[in-house]
C-alpha cells in the first residue's frame, strides 16, 4: 500500500484524530478501492489464497492486480473471428480484485467490501462486481457489465446472390456492431430486522450500428441506428409478521425507450439510365440487396439486360411499368417507442408450522407501449407502378398480465413429503394503431423518373421528394386511414403434485403429476376508409377492405408424469435419474410436442481432493401427431372460418408429422494426483434430430428427380380452400416434402496444469467442437431425397426459364447451392500458458491461444468462405498484496 496516492484522498502522512480513526480508515480504504476500480479479472485467474493479505487498522486487506496486453493475428475470414471471439490487440487491465474485511466486525461504513473487475482496455466483455455490507445495517450489491456484440456471419439470411460485379453479399446482411452496457444495483436495508427494505435499480442500454433489410418491391438494405434503453426500479418491503413468516410487497417499474431508426444503407447503388445517357439529378438509386437475374431478382430483367454497365458505372434502366425494377432514391423510418411496465407483487413465505412450507405470490402488470410511427420513401414499385410511400400514425399497445403462484411442501413424516405447486398466468395484449398510409402515383408515364403527383393527396408532399408535381397522379395514388385493433391472449393454469420418499441418506425417490390447461386466442379488427384519387386529383372514398379475423380461441391440456430417483451409495458418490412423460392434446404449433419423453441420468463421484468423476445421459424424444384446426395440415379447411363450420380434407402428408429427439451424453474427470499436477478432461456428444412434413411453394415447372409429385393442396381445389384467417388460397401448388434435420456435435477438452519447479506453473489445454449432420429435404411420397435438376452453373432448371443451360445433373433441393455451414465444422482451441513467480507477490503470466474455425463443406458458389485462423498472445504481470 505504501506509495499509492489517490488524488481524491488525503496523502498517507495525514493523521486523523483517533476517535475518527475507524471512519477515516474506512473512507481511505474505499477511496483506494475506487482508485483501483478500472481493473480487470479474467475468468481463468485464481482468487487470493485464504489467509493472505495485510492487516491495516482493523481491516484485513487483500489485493490482486493483473496488467498486461494482448496481441492478435488473424488469417481467413476476420468477420467470423470478430463474431465469435473479437479479442483484439492492445493493453489490458486483465484482472483486479480487492477485499477489505473488518477484523472485529465493527467497521464504520462497512464490515466487508469486495469488488473485482475484468476485461478493461479492449476486451469485448468487461465488468465489475461489488459487494459491501455492514452487519445489521445494509447489504449492497452492484454489477456493471459491458458487452461488445459484433455479428457478421454471412450464413444467415443471405440472399445468395450470383456474382457479376453487381450486388454481392459476402457479409451478413444483418450485421451488428452494438454495445450493451448493463448496471444492476441492489440495496437491502436492515437485513436482519423484522422490517427489511429492498431497493433495486438496473439500467440496460444497447447502442450501435447494424444493418437491416426491408421487403418492399425489392429487398432494401437499411442502416439501422440501434438506440434502446431500459431502466428498472424496484422498491420492496419485507415484514416478518410471525416467526418464520415473511410478508412482502414489491413495486416494480420498468421503463423502456427505443429510438432505433433506419435509412437506406449506401450499398448496391446504381445509376438510373433512361437510355445511353445517365439521367440527371436522381441518378443514384438502390435496387436492393437481392441480385439473381436467373430467378428474376430484383426484377424480371425482361427485356434483358435491365441491369448493366454503361460508361464504366453500374446502371439500371428506367423502364416503364411492370418490366421495370423496383428501386429506391431514399428511405427513412423512425418508430420511437416508450413502454412502461408497472408491476405490483405480494409474496408470502412461511414455515410457521415446522412441517409445512408455504410460498405464495401474486402480481399484476399493466404495461403500455406508445409508439409514433413514421416511414417515408421516394421509390418506384414496379408491381403497382406507384411512386412514393408514406406511413404514419400513433400506436398504443398494452400488456395486462396477472400471475399467481402457490407452493406448499408438507413433511408427512421424517421420510415422506408431499409438495404442490400451482402456477397461474394470464396475459392479454390489446393494441391499436391509428394508421395513415399513402401510396403516391406518378404523373404521366409510370416510371422511376415520373414526378410524384401531389394533387389531392395530402401526404405525398410530406415524403420530401425533390421530384414532385402539383398535378394529379396518373395511377396508384391513394391514402388510407385505418384503425387497427388487435388482441392476443394467453391464459394458463398448471398444478404439479409430487410425493417424495427419503427413508435414509442413501436412497430417495419421488413421483408426481402435472396438469395444465392453456387457452390462447388471437383476433384483429380493422375499420377505416381508403381514398383513391383520379388523375385529376378527385378523391373517391370508400370503406377499407375488411381484413378482420374474429377471435379464435384454442385450448390445450397437458398431462405430465414425473419420476425421479437419487442414490448416495456413499458420501462421495451421487446418482440421479429422472423421467418425464408428457402429453398435450392440442398443441397449437407443429413443432410443439404432443407426446414427449425425457430421460436423465447423472452421476458424480469425488475421491477426496484427488479426483472428481462425472457422467450424464439426457434424452428427450418428442412427436406431434395432432394439429390445431387453425394450422392443420392434415385438415385443410374447405369453408371460410368466418362464415361456416370448417370441414376438412385429408392431405398426402398425413403420416408425416413432426418428431424429433435431443440425445446427449458425456463424461468428465478432474484429477489432482499431487499438489503439482491437475488434469481435467471431458467429452460430450449430442445428437439433435427432427423431421416433419411441409407443403412448400415451388415453381410448378420444376420436375424433381423421380418425377412430378402430387401437389398440396391439389391444383384443382385452389380457390375453394381457405386458410385459418378465412382467406382463400391463391393458385399455388405446393410441393409436399419432408424436412429431415440431424446435427451431431462432439465437444471435448483437456487441460493439464503442472508445477515442474516451485516458481513455475504451466498450462496445456485443448478444446474441440466438431459437428456433422444433414439438412435434407425428402419427397413426401417416397421419402427419397428431393433432388432438383440443375445446369452446369448450379441453377435449378424449370420450364419457361430460357436462361437455363442444359441439364447437368441433379442436386439436393430446393436450394442446392447452400453449404452445410455450421452443420459441418471443426472448432479447435489449443492453449498454452505459463506463470512464473518473479518475487514475492509478483508473477509473470504468458498465454498463447490458437483459434481454428473450419467448415467441412463448400460455403456456396457465390459466397465467401467463413474459415479463419487466429493467434492471441497475452502477457501480464500479476501483483498480489
Amino acid at each position: 500500500m505504501d506509495g499509492i496516492q489517490c488524488k481524491t484522498m488525503r496523502p498517507l502522512t495525514y493523521r486523523a484524530p483517533k476517535r475518527y480513526g475507524m471512519k477515516l480508515t474506512s473512507i481511505y480504504l474505499l477511496g483506494v478501492a475506487l482508485c483501483l476500480l478500472p481493473g480487470t479479472l479474467h475468468a481463468q485467474s485464481v482468487p487470493a489464497p485464504a489467509g493472505a493479505g495485510q492487516v491495516y487498522n482493523g481491516y484485513t486487506v487483500q489485493n490482486t492486480l493483473e496488467l498486461g496486453g494482448r496481441v492478435t493475428s488473424i488469417s481467413g475470414n476476420s468477420n467470423m473471428y470478430d463474431t465469435m471471439e473479437n479479442q483484439q490487440s492492445g493493453g489490458r487491465l486483465l484482472d483486479q480484485s480487492f477485499t477489505a474485511r473488518s477484523l472485529r466486525h465493527n467497521g464504520a461504513f462497512f464490515d466487508e467490501l469486495w469488488f473485482s473487475s475484468f476485461g478493461y482496455g479492449g476486451d469485448p466483455q468487461e465488468g465489475t462486481r461489488l459487494r459491501m455490507y455492514k452487519n445489521k445495517l445494509y447489504d449492497f450489491n452492484a454489477v456493471y457489465r459491458h458487452d461488445q456484440n459484433y455479428f457478421n456471419d454471412n450464413y444467415l439470411g443471405n440472399p445468395y446472390n450470383t456474382p457479376g460485379g453487381f450486388v454481392v453479399w459476402n457479409q451478413a446482411i444483418h450485421q451488428m456492431n452494438t454495445r450493451r452496457n448493463m448496471g444492476d444495483f441492489h440495496l437491502t436495508l436492515m437485513p436482519e430486522s423484522p422490517i427489511r427494505i429492498r431497493l433495486g435499480y438496473a439500467r440496460n442500454t444497447n447502442r450501435g450500428s447494424s444493418l437491416s433489410s426491408l421487403h418492399e418491391g425489392t429487398e432494401l438494405s437499411l442502416a439501422q441506428d440501434v438506440q434502446s434503453r431500459q431502466d428498472q426500479y424496484q422498491v420492496g418491503v419485507d415484514f416478518k409478521v410471525l416467526p418464520r413468516t415473511t410478508l412482502s410487497y414489491d413495486q416494480f417499474f420498468d421503463h423502456n425507450i427505443s429510438d432505433t431508426s433506419y435509412v437506406n444503407a449506401p450499398t448496391g447503388l446504381f445509376y438510373l439510365n433512361a437510355g445511353t445517357a445517365l439521367a440527371p439529378i436522381y441518378e443514384r438509386v438502390d435496387i436492393g440487396a437481392t441480385y439473381n437475374t436467373y430467378y428474376g431478382q430484383p426484377c424480371a430483367n425482361t427485356p434483358a439486360p435491365i441491369i448493366t454497365v454503361v460508361g464504366g458505372v453500374n446502371v439500371v434502366k428506367n423502364l416503364t411499368g411492370g418490366s421495370a425494377c423496383s428501386l429506391f432514391f431514399n428511405y427513412h423510418r423512425s418508430a420511437p417507442a416508450r413502454t412502461n411496465f408497472p408491476t405490483e407483487k405480494f409474496s408470502l413465505i412461511s414455515d410457521y408450522w415446522k412441517k409445512l412450507n408455504v410460498f405464495a405470490s401474486g402480481s399484476y402488470t399493466s404495461a403500455v407501449n406508445k409508439t409514433n410511427y413514421l416511414e417515408s420513401a421516394d421509390d418506384f414499385e414496379s408491381r403497382t407502378s406507384t411512386r412514393g410511400i408514406y406511413l404514419t400514425g400513433p400506436g398504443k399497445i398494452r400488456q395486462l398480465s396477472g400471475n399467481a403462484d402457490l407452493g406448499v411442501t408438507y413433511h408427512i413424516t421424517e421420510s415422506w413429503y408431499v409438495s404442490n405447486q400451482f402456477k397461474y398466468t394470464n396475459w392479454r395484449i390489446p393494441g391499436t394503431w391509428d394508421m395513415t398510409s399513402a401510396n403516391c402515383g406518378p404523373v404521366g408515364a409510370a416510371n422511376a423518373l415520373s414526378p410524384i403527383g401531389t394533387l389531392g393527396n395530402p401526404y405525398c408532399a410530406l415524403i420530401g421528394s425533390l421530384n414532385t408535381s402539383s398535378a394529379g397522379a396518373g395511377i396508384g395514388s391513394s391514402y388510407t386511414n385505418d384503425l387497427w385493433s388487435l388482441l392476443h391472449t394467453d391464459k394458463r393454469a398448471a398444478d404439479t403434485t409430487i410425493l417424495g420418499w427419503e427413508p435414509n441418506h442413501v436412497f430417495g425417490a419421488h413421483a408426481g403429476f402435472r396438469y395444465a390447461q392453456r387457452t390462447v386466442a388471437y383476433g384483429d379488427f380493422t375499420t377505416g376508409t381508403t381514398t383513391t384519387l383520379s388523375a385529376a386529383g378527385v378523391p373517391a372514398t370508400a370503406a377499407s377492405a375488411d381484413d378482420s379475423n374474429a377471435l379464435y380461441p384454442e385450448t390445450d391440456h397437458e398431462k405430465v408424469g414425473l419420476f425421479g430417483v437419487k442414490l448416495h451409495p456413499n458420501q462421495n458418490w451421487m446418482i440421479n435419474g429422472d423421467v418425464e412423460l408428457s402429453y398435450i392434446d392440442h398443441p397449437v404449433a407443429a413443432i410443439l410436442p404432443g407426446h414427449s419423453q425425457l430421460y436423465k441420468l447423472r452421476t458424480n463421484y469425488r475421491l477426496g481432493k484427488h479426483a472428481t468423476l462425472s457422467g450424464f445421459i439426457n434424452d428427450k424424444y418428442s412427436r406431434n401427431s395432432f394439429y390445431s384446426a387453425d394450422f392443420a395440415l392434415a385438415q385443410i379447411n374447405t369453408n371460410p372460418v368466418l362464415t361456416g363450420t370448417p370441414t376438412y380434407v385429408a392431405d398426402p402428408l398425413t403420416p408425416v408429422r413432426h418428431q424429433g429427439h435431443n440425445l446427449n451424453y458425456g463424461f468428465s474427470a478432474a484429477l489432482h494426483p499431487t499438489e503439482k499436477i491437475t488434469l481435467d478432461f471431458g467429452w460430450t456428444y449430442q445428437n439433435l434430430y427432427s423431421t416433419g412434413g411441409v407443403c412448400i411453394p415451388m415453381t410448378l415447372a420444376v420436375v424433381p428427380q423421380g418425377g412430378q409429385i402430387a401437389r398440396c393442396p391439389a391444383a384443382a381445389a385452389s380457390g375453394t380452400l381457405y386458410d385459418s384467417e378465412g382467406d382463400p388460397y391463391s393458385s399455388y401448388n405446393g410441393v409436399p416434402a419432408v424436412l429431415h434435420y440431424q446435427q451431431n456435435t462432439n465437444t471435448g477438452y483437456v487441460n493439464l496444469i503442472m508445477q515442474p519447479v516451485k516458481r513455475v506453473s504451466v498450462l496445456l489445454g485443448y478444446d474441440l467442437t466438431s459437428t456433422s449432420g444433414e439438412n435434407t429435404w425428402l419427397r413426401a411420397d417416397t421419402l427419397a431425397p428431393f433432388m432438383v435438376p440443375v445446369d452446369a452453373a448450379g441453377n435449378v432448371i424449370y420450364a419457361g426459364n430460357t436462361l437455363s443451360g442444359p441439364l447437368a445433373g441433379y442436386a439436393p433441393g430446393p436450394n442446392p447451392d447452400v453449404g452445410l455451414g455450421p452443420l459441418g465444422m471443426n472448432w479447435h482451441l489449443p492453449t498454452v500458458g505459463v506463470e512464473l513467480a518473479l518475487c514475492k507477490n509478483v508473477s509473470f503470466k504468458g498465454a498463447w491461444r490458437y483459434y481454428d474455425y473450419h467448415e467441412k463443406s463448400n460455403p456456396g458458389t457465390y459466397i465467401a468462405g467463413r474459415d479463419f485462423q487466429a493467434n492471441t498472445g497475452t502477457l501480464a504481470l500479476r501483483f498480489s498484496f
Binding site: 444467415l156 426491408l214 399497445i397 405447486q421 393494441g431 457422467g615 399455388y732 405446393g734 430446393p814
Partner: protein, 309 residues
C-alpha cells in the same frame, strides 16, 4: 373520505388476517417455544440433554474452523443479540455431550452421513425467509439430493461471496457437464468469459418456473432482462415468442449455429411450424429461403402484420 378511511385500514386488515390465519392454530397448539438446546442426533440417555457450551469451547479443539467462521458472514451467529444464535452450536447443536464425551462425534450433529434434507433443514433455520430460497424445498436441486453444502462451504469457502466451494461457472459444471459443453460451442452466452453468471438466469435454490429459471417482474422470460428490445409488447406479436418462450428457436447456453438457433438454417427452423404458406410466393430455391431477409421483425412488430419491419 369513506373510501380513504377504508384504504387506510387495509394494511391493518391484512395484518389482522395474517395473524388470524397463523395465530388461531397457534392458540390451539400452544405457543411456539423459543429454540431450546436440542437433543443431538445421538443423544445420551433420556435423562441427559445436551447443553450449550459456547463457541470459545469449540475453539479449543477446532481453532481453524473457528477462525474461518469468524472471518465469514457467519460470525453473526456469535455476535447477534438474537437469543436463538449460539455460535457454532447454532448449526451443530448443543455440544456439552460432545465435549464431555471427549469429542465423541456421535454426540454432535455433523454434516456428514446425513440426508440432504437434514442438512438443508439446518441451514434453512436461518436462511429460509428469503425470496431467493423461498422455493428451495420444491426445487429440482432439493429433489435431486443436492444439499446446501454441496455448493456452499461455511468453513473455508474458496469464494467468500456467498461462501461457494468454487466460483461460477466451475461450480455448476461439476454436475452440469452438458452445460459446460454448450458454453464451449462457437456461439454462446458469455459465461466462460465471466460476463454472465449461471445465477443471472437460474436460481440454484429454485423458482416456480421450470429449470429453476428466473423471470422478469411481470412473469415473462428472464431473457428480457438483457434483451429488453425483444420484450414488446408489440402490436403484431410472433406468437411462440410470447407463449412458448425464446427456447422455441434458440438454445440459450450455446450452439454451433449462429444466433444460438436450434437449427443451422433459418428456413429449416421456420418451416417446421409454418408448414403451409397461405398465399405468398416463397419458392425455396431462391432468395425466399432466407426467411429473415424479409421477415425482419421476427420477435414482433409494431407496424407489419407479416413482421416485415
Amino acid at each position: 373520505m369513506r373510501g380513504l378511511r377504508t384504504l387506510r385500514r387495509l394494511p391493518l386488515v391484512t395484518v389482522a388476517l395474517v395473524c388470524l390465519i397463523f395465530g388461531f392454530p397457534n392458540l390451539l397448539m400452544g405457543a411456539d417455544k423459543a429454540k431450546s438446546p436440542d437433543k443431538s442426533q445421538n443423544a445420551g440417555t433420556a435423562a441427559e440433554q445436551a447443553q450449550f457450551v459456547g463457541s470459545e469451547t469449540c475453539k479449543g479443539c477446532h481453532e481453524a474452523q473457528f477462525s474461518n467462521i469468524d472471518g465469514s458472514p457467519h460470525f453473526r451467529l456469535d455476535n447477534s443479540s438474537n437469543k436463538e444464535f449460539h455460535g457454532c452450536e447454532s448449526c451443530h447443536g448443543a455440544g456439552s455431550l460432545h465435549v464431555n464425551g471427549g469429542g465423541d462425534k456421535t454426540m454432535i450433529f455433523t454434516f456428514k452421513g446425513v440426508s440432504s434434507e437434514k442438512i438443508n433443514e439446518r441451514c434453512l433455520e436461518c436462511h429460509r425467509n428469503s425470496h431467493e430460497r423461498s422455493n428451495f424445498q420444491r426445487s429440482d436441486h432439493a429433489r435431486a439430493g443436492v444439499s446446501c453444502i454441496g455448493c456452499h462451504a461455511p468453513h473455508g469457502a474458496a469464494r467468500q461471496q456467498a461462501l461457494l466451494i468454487q466460483k461460477q461457472p466451475g461450480l455448476c459444471y461439476t454436475c452440469h457437464q452438458d452445460a459446460k459443453a454448450d458454453f464451449s460451442k462457437p456461439f454462446h452466452h458469455k459465461v466462460n468469459e465471466a460476463l454472465v453468471n449461471c445465477s443471472d438466469c437460474h436460481n440454484a435454490h429454485g423458482t416456480t418456473d421450470e429449470k429453476q429459471l428466473r423471470s422478469t417482474a411481470d412473469g415473462q422470460e428472464v431473457c428480457y432482462k438483457c434483451h429488453a428490445d425483444k420484450r414488446g409488447p408489440f402490436l403484431y406479436e410472433h406468437y411462440p415468442v410470447k407463449s412458448e418462450g425464446c427456447s422455441t428457436c434458440h438454445t440459450p447456453h450455446g450452439s454451433a449455429n449462429p444466433r444460438l438457433l436450434t437449427r443451422s438454417r433459418v428456413n429449416t427452423l421456420c418451416l417446421e411450424c409454418h408448414q403451409n404458406f397461405y398465399n405468398g410466393p416463397h419458392p425455396q430455391n431462391t432468395k425466399s429461403q432466407a426467411c429473415t431477409l424479409c421477415h425482419v421483425g421476427i420477435h414482433g412488430s409494431n407496424s407489419s402484420s407479416v413482421l416485415f419491419k
